[in-house]
Point group: C2
Chain length 272, copies 2
C-alpha cells in the first residue's frame, strides 16, 4: 500500500519548495534571526537527492540583496534558486507593454529600473510597509480611478507576517483596500497564484505531484500549492496560529513544529 499520508508520501517526492520568511528566519530589525535548526535543515536537503527551490512573496528588497541577507544569516542559498514576485512582475509588464505606478518598499525599486514609469497605465503594490501612508495609498488610488481600464497588480496577497517585534500588515490588506476603493479585482503576482507556482515547477522540471511545498502561511503556501496539485505542509513557526489547524476550507497534508522536524521526517522516510 502507498503511504499517501504525511510523512509517508515523502518517499515519492522529487523536489521540495520552501517558503523563506517564517520558515527559515523571522524578519525584524537588521537581518532578522534564523529559526533554530533551519540552517542545518536546508543543508541536509541540499545534500539529499531532492531538488530544492525557494518561493517567497518577499518584496522589501531586490532578489540580490535579499539572498545576500539570507547568506549572512548562514543559509547556503544562491539567487537562481529563489523565486520572488518582482522579477515575475517585470516579465508581465514587458509582455503586456504596461507602465507601472509603484507603491512598493524603497528597497524593491531597483528591480523596476528597466521599465518606463511615465504616464502610468497600471499600479503595482508590494509589501511597502511604512510607505503605505495615507498620502501614498491615495496617490495610487487616484492613478487607478483615472484610468479607463484600471489594472492593479499585487505582489502577493498575504494578510500579515511576523517580525521579531510582532505581527505586521502585509500587502494583501492594501490590495483589498484599493480593490474596494476602485471596485476592481487585483491580479496577484506571487503566491498563491498558480502561474507563479508553475514557474517554479517549470524550473524544477517536475510534475506537481512530485513536489512538496513547506510554508508557515496556510492559505498562500499550503493552500496555493495544493491548488496546483502539490503537497503542502505547514510549520508551526512564523505566522502560524493554532486556529490554522481547524481552518474550514484548507487542511495541510501535514503540520510540523518547524522546518528541522519536517526535513528529518522526510529524510527518515526516504531512508537517509
Amino acid at each position: 500500500m502507498a503511504d499517501s499520508g504525511w510523512p509517508g508520501f515523502a518517499k515519492s517526492l522529487k523536489g521540495v519548495i520552501l517558503d523563506l520568511c517564517g520558515v527559515l528566519y523571522d524578519s525584524g530589525e537588521g537581518d532578522g534571526v534564523a529559526i533554530p535548526g533551519s540552517i542545518e535543515a536546508v543543508k541536509k536537503l541540499k545534500e539529499s537527492d531532492l531538488q530544492l527551490r525557494f518561493c517567497t512573496n518577499e518584496t522589501q528588497a531586490t532578489r540580490e540583496k535579499f539572498v545576500a541577507k539570507l547568506r549572512r544569516l548562514g543559509f547556503d542559498i544562491s539567487a537562481s534558486e529563489v523565486f520572488p514576485p518582482a522579477p515575475a512582475a517585470m516579465a508581465v509588464l514587458k509582455d503586456r507593454g504596461l507602465r507601472p505606478h509603484l507603491l512598493v518598499h524603497d528597497g524593491l525599486l531597483p528591480e523596476f529600473d528597466g521599465v518606463d514609469k511615465n504616464n502610468p497605465n497600471c499600479v503595482i503594490i508590494g509589501d511597502a510597509a511604512e510607505n503605505f501612508s495615507y498620502r501614498n495609498l491615495n496617490e495610487a488610488f487616484r492613478v487607478l480611478i483615472g484610468l479607463e481600464k484600471p489594472v492593479l497588480f499585487s505582489l502577493g496577497q498575504g494578510r500579515y507576517y511576523k517580525e521579531t517585534d510582532g505581527l505586521k500588515l502585509d500587502v494583501g490588506v492594501y490590495m483589498k483596500a484599493l480593490e474596494y476603493a476602485c471596485d476592481l479585482k487585483a491580479e496577484v503576482i506571487g503566491k498563491p497564484s498558480p502561474t507563479f507556482f508553475q514557474s517554479v515547477l517549470n524550473d524544477l522540471g517536475l510534475q506537481p505531484h512530485e513536489v512538496l511545498m513547506i510554508g508557515d502561511d496556510l492559505l498562500n503556501d499550503v493552500g496555493g500549492a495544493q491548488h496546483c496539485g502539490m503537497k503542502g505542509v505547514q510549520v508551526r513557526t512564523g505566522k502560524y496560529r493554532p486556529s490554522d489547524e481547524r481552518h474550514p476550507t484548507v487542511m495541510a497534508d501535514g503540520t510540523v513544529d518547524n522546518l528541522a522536524q519536517a526535513v528529518d521526517m522526510i529524510l527518515n522516510q526516504r531512508g537517509h
Copy 2:
C-alpha cells in the same frame, strides 16, 4: 393617477434628509466651499412645510465644530438637526459596555471623551485621513487580532470623497483592509446602516415612504435610503460620477444637477 416618479412623488413628501459634504459644500482647505445655490436651497426648504434633517458620515470633527463650520459657510443649520456617526457610536459603546481603541481624526477625539479606553475590547475607525499611517493601522490590527472576539466598528463605509484638490480615500477602504487582515466583518455605524437612518426617521416622526434622501453617494445615500423604504435622489456634485447612472444594482429615484435644482423641482411640484 399617482405621480410615483421623480419629481411627481415630491407632492406626497413630509420630510427631506440631506447629505452634507458633496451636496451642500465641497470639503478642502479651511472650511471648503459652498456648492453654488445650496445655501439658498436649504433656506427654501426651511421656509417650506417640509421637515428637514441632515444625515452625514462626517467624522473629521465633533458635531459642534462641524456645524460651526457649516454656519461660517453661510448655512442656517443647528446641531440638533445634524446626525453624524460618532454620537451614535458612543450610544452603542455605552449600551454594550465596550472600551474602544480609536483610529479616527484628531478632530473627532473629543466626541469619545466620556468613555473608558483602557484595555480596549473593540476598535473604532473613522475617516482618519493622514492618521491612516501604516503604524496606526498596524496598531489597530494588533488590538483586533489579540481579542478573542474581535469587534470592529466603522463610522461609515464610503470608498472616497471629493475635496477641492481631488478625490480622497474614505474610511470604508480601511474597513475592508482590517476586515481582510482579521477575517471579520465590521459593524457599520453611519450611512447606509438601516439603524442609523431609522434614528433620523424617529427624530422626524415620519414613515420612510414620506421621506426623501438627497445625496451625492449612490450607494450610501441613495441605495441606503431606498433600502429603508425612502426615496433617494442623487445630485451630480461632490463624488458623483457619470457611471453612477448606469450602476448595475442601485438606481436613484431621480438624478439632478445639484441641490438647488432638486429643491426647485420639489417645491414646484408642491405648488410653492
